[in-house]
């Protein structure tokens, strides 16, 4: 199987996994779940990391750094804000 085909398999299986993972979520958790999934979409951070590996401030490196900054805000802020929402839930358990 070629690399592309493997990636297509991975894509389709991951889609099924995503569809099956989320069902019967209590409305209470809709916002935190959306927020957590949103933080996860910041995974593009690893793509950004692979593009800013040289010192020269070329356009590609500057674009990659901008991507890295935004993705990091998405990831760090996203998980933090989700935790903040959830911390208020667990306090009284």
């Amino acid at each position: 199987m070629g690399t592309l085909l493997v990636s297509v398999y991975v894509f389709v299986l991951a889609a099924f996994l995503g569809f099956e993972l989320i069902n019967k979520v209590p409305p209470t958790l809709h916002t935190p779940l959306m927020s957590g999934a949103n933080a996860m979409s910041g995974v593009t951070i690893i793509g950004a990391l692979s593009l800013v590996t040289v010192a020269d401030p070329d356009a590609s490196v500057l674009l990659g750094t901008a991507a890295l900054v935004l993705a990091t805000v998405n990831v760090v802020g996203g998980f933090l804000v989700t935790d903040r929402m959830l911390s208020t839930f667990s306090r009284r358990n």
């Binding site: 019967k24 409305p27 998405n74 959830l86």
Partner: protein, 468 residues
């Protein structure tokens, strides 16, 4: 060998994402689920750094530091009521990041290499094609999310109609794809190709604007959920462009899970996704000017407290007005005062009360309202007829009987909290202005309804002090 080991360890990152997301969808395990996902992300970042070996770290360190500081600062400064806006903003950043990664890849291999070959030849056809998709989806997510945030903050109001919007959207998307296709397949001159890719970027940003602008603020939760799904797909497209399976997996899971969540939210409002995306929600409805109300009875906190003192069972129905006035502590104070007088007090949470499903739970949790006092709509709807008094705090559309009685109403068929069945209903509102759906609420005119006009926090504080 080393690369294979790293690829195997990357599976650990995928496992953390999957188990984390699963746990995040259950109340007891939600917080640990979020932590597991964060750990998965950290592992993915560390693995990527190890895989790259020794490189120049100044941009990496700088980018990570600035981004982390920015993320922490935004969260620390955010108020509990602003959570939906923050999620919208972060989502826009995620989409923009994917588009920028794709642009960076294009610049590096096509523009800066100086070779006069097509991007498809320089990067491979898959990478070149998915790079265009990443820019398209990522930039659409970005501009759409920014509009969504502005609408949630009330900076952008109304829902201007765009003539033949469907056609315009279709043309924009097809135009973006065509421009991108030409840029990566048919153009060998790097400068021209770069210009075309910038064109794709511009068209995609415009697509996001056209997509979100005509949709009313009430539907923003659904829109944000859909945009969240899109930002996952943008990350997956980036994964294809970079031939990175971890990126494809994580992005696709978010894309699929986000779509399911969007569907769940639409179901809670008894509307279809198409119906939401068409937009213009509420514009055709009769406007709810104060002049249209005839028999409004209003009272002050003292009078209301006299009735509440005698009530044995009370249900409090919070809406966005409670969050906006930061009245959650005051609401809990009223509940405690009533309980001290022997009444049973419960909170009824409509699935879409506030500006996001679960928004009310987040806000009430801030005031440490015990979880077992919160009841979901289906659990409590049959109890209203045996309830002495209901206090509606800053909610409107979710208690509007028009959903059941007027088939032509824009909210027709939406499940509502049937507060009208209670013996006495107090509605705390700043004015008779319509809710998000922009329609009149017959509940306000009902015989058993008494309006308590004013800021939610001020009125509730008044009630609490009268009762205690």
């Amino acid at each position: 060998m080393g690369a294979d080991v790293l690829a195997l360890v990357a599976l650990g990152s995928v496992a953390l994402f999957v188990v984390g997301l699963k746990r995040l969808s259950r109340i007891r395990t939600a917080r640990s689920g979020n932590a597991l996902m964060a750990a998965g992300m950290l592992l993915a970042v560390v693995l990527t750094l190890i895989e790259q070996g020794l490189v120049d770290y100044r941009w990496i360190a700088g980018g990570l530091a600035v981004g982390a500081a920015g993320g922490v600062a935004i969260v620390l400064r955010a108020k509990a009521t602003a959570m939906p806006e923050i999620v919208a903003r972060f989502n826009g950043f995620g989409g923009a990041a994917s588009a920028l990664v794709a642009l960076s890849l294009f610049w590096r291999h096509v523009v800066e290499s100086g070779d006069a070959v097509t991007a498809s030849a320089a990067l491979g056809a898959t990478s070149a094609a998915t790079l265009v998709l990443s820019v398209l989806i990522g930039a659409t997510t970005f501009s759409g999310s920014i509009i969504a945030e502005l609408k949630l903050r009330g900076v952008l109001k109304g829902q201007p109609t765009i003539p033949v919007r469907g056609g315009v959207m279709g043309l924009l998307v097809l135009g973006g794809l065509a421009l991108g296709g030409v840029a990566v397949l048919g153009v060998e001159d790097p400068t021209l190709a770069a210009g075309l890719v910038v064109g794709v970027l511009a068209v995609s940003l415009l697509t996001g604007l056209v997509l979100v602008t005509p949709i009313g603020g009430a539907d923003m939760p659904v829109v944000i959920s859909l945009l969240n799904s899109l930002s996952g797909l943008a990350a997956a497209a980036t994964g294809f462009a970079l031939a990175n399976n971890l990126l494809i997996i994580a992005g696709t899971i978010v894309g699929a899970a986000g779509l399911i969540l969007t569907q769940i939210m639409c179901a809670a409002m008894n509307r279809s996704l198409v119906n939401v995306m068409v937009g213009g929600y509420g514009t055709d409805a009769p406007s709810g000017d104060a002049a249209e109300y005839e028999s409004i009875v209003s009272a002050d906190a003292e009078e209301a407290a006299m009735v509440l003192e005698a009530a044995q069972s009370v249900i409090i129905v919070p809406g966005y007005g409670l969050a906006a006035a930061r009245a959650q502590n005051a609401a809990y104070d009223v509940a405690k005062a009533l309980e001290a007088r022997g009444a049973t007090v419960r909170f009824a949470i409509h699935p879409v009360a506030g500006r996001m499903p679960g928004h009310m739970n987040v806000v009430l949790a801030e005031a440490e309202v015990p979880y077992d006092l919160l009841y979901e709509m289906d659990e409590i709807n049959q109890d209203f007829s045996q309830t002495d008094a209901v206090i509606v705090v800053g909610a409107n559309d979710v208690v509007n009987p028009a959903a059941n009685t007027e088939p032509g109403s824009p909210i027709a068929g939406m499940p509502i909290l049937e507060v009208g069945k209670a013996r006495r209903v107090f509605v705390i509102k700043r004015s008779l202005a319509p809710g998000y759906a922009g329609i009149k609420n017959a509940l306000f005119e009902a015989d058993q309804t008494v309006m308590l006009f004013g800021d939610a926090k001020a009125v509730l504080d008044g009630l609490a002090s009268e009762l205690s």
